[in-house]
Symmetry: C2
Subunit: 217 residues, 2 copies
DNA sequence: GTTTACAAACCGACCGTTCGGTATGTCAAG
DNA sequence: CTTGACATACCGAACGGTCGGTTTGTAAAC
């Protein structure tokens, strides 16, 4: 665990999944792999780079993971699952006013993004674009993660509809897909333009859309 | 130009940029590179695969392109630019009712997508997710392409506002970003789930949003 | 005779992976 | 309290293969 010169140490993406630097060998490898994959994509991620920045040897890596693909699976099953939970599921778990919760979450997330965070974009979306079409084992795991996000959204929106905080003109499923897709698109737009302003403007559009979903407006 | 066994010959993505199979060597290389990059991403795209499927030799490839990066630049400057023009700019060029034009375009595009098209996703979005954070030369070109799309949208929306077909409650720029981001997100969602139904449902959400942008509704 | 358009052989670097070996720990038998 | 058997956690040199790229050769076009 020496240097991650190229990976932003204070990355909002990083902070979301783990506060403490990893101690045991396996976690060191996973964390280094997460950074390397986020920077270069999975296929271009180098085992050598991973072990260099993790400060472990190749033998150690292949002791814990039988192949590069297995590292990818572990990233999805452990790190990315945790990432979705902490950045999204928890935000919506206990509210019956999901619109307010989402708007607040968008504002908060946007405000604490650095230029580097924006340039790197969402690690999960990047992973999905790259690996979903290539390998069904990856695709199934990625789909599962998005399903998790989708379900959290739908449940919260249904609670909101029940509580009279969300319009019933549109189904919760439809709103959830729209919100999810648009969030993904906003991050992608900001990433390609490397512009925080772009993220905020896209976010404003999404917030405007969300506000229109309140009943009797 | 032997086989593209793994690339769908009747791909909607392919048809959009060129009707005729390429004849001269340079175009053969570019077309093969487009397929290879769309399938595997740019970094994982193999020069060997490109020359194999293009039916040319390595000497021919490096006669026309000084490096792999130059092939990527050529793809963006020529193929992808043409792709944006034919799939998007032309759709909006001469209309002052952009909402109807977009809705029709979405319905038409969605209906002619195969399962393979969906699994592969938008080639430009994939390229952008992968290369924008890594290399500024790529990022600038990618940003330029999205700007082209954005400008086409903004111009059409402003004409629509002038003609009274689009609400003036929201700026054309804001609508354009929202539409662009959501389209991107819809394609990404459908890609990761490999589901045509997902694409149609996301598209329905976007269409609903668009219809709400008509004045006095 | 020079230039253009390839063709084919070849290069070192790096890839993911393997494998023989070691250091340390555990735990039960003697 | 020691000893032998086995397990876990590594170590790092080496492997076959592929990578992007180069060099040299050739034959037609101008």
């Amino acid at each position: 665990m020496e240097q991650f010169a190229k990976y932003p140490q204070q990355s909002a993406w990083w902070q979301s999944w783990h506060k403490d630097p990893p101690e045991n060998t396996r976690d060191k490898i996973l964390y280094a792999a997460f950074c390397e994959v986020h920077l270069n994509g999975f296929q271009a991620a180098s085992i050598q780079n991973i072990i260099n920045s993790a400060g472990v040897t190749k033998g150690a890596l292949y002791h814990y993971f039988s192949s590069k693909d297995e590292i990818g699976y572990a990233l999805l099953d452990e790190i990315f699952t945790q990432y979705i939970d902490s950045t999204f599921v928890e935000v919506l778990r206990d509210t019956d006013d999901p619109i307010s919760a989402l708007v607040e979450h968008l504002n908060q997330t946007g405000s604490q993004m650095s230029e580097e965070d924006i340039a790197l974009g969402c690690p999960l979306d990047h992973f999905s674009q790259e690996m979903a079409p290539i390998d069904t084992a990856f695709q199934k795991r990625l789909d599962q993660l998005y399903q998790k996000k989708h379900t959290a959204l739908v449940d919260a929106l249904k609670r909101g509809q029940k509580a009279g905080n969300v319009t019933r003109d549109v189904t919760a499923e439809s709103i959830a897909m729209m919100v999810h897709a648009t969030m993904q698109g906003c991050m992608a737009m900001a990433k390609s333009s490397r512009s925080l302003e772009m993220l905020m403007q896209c976010g404003a559009g999404l917030i405007h859309y969300l506000e229109q979903l309140r009943p009797s407006s």
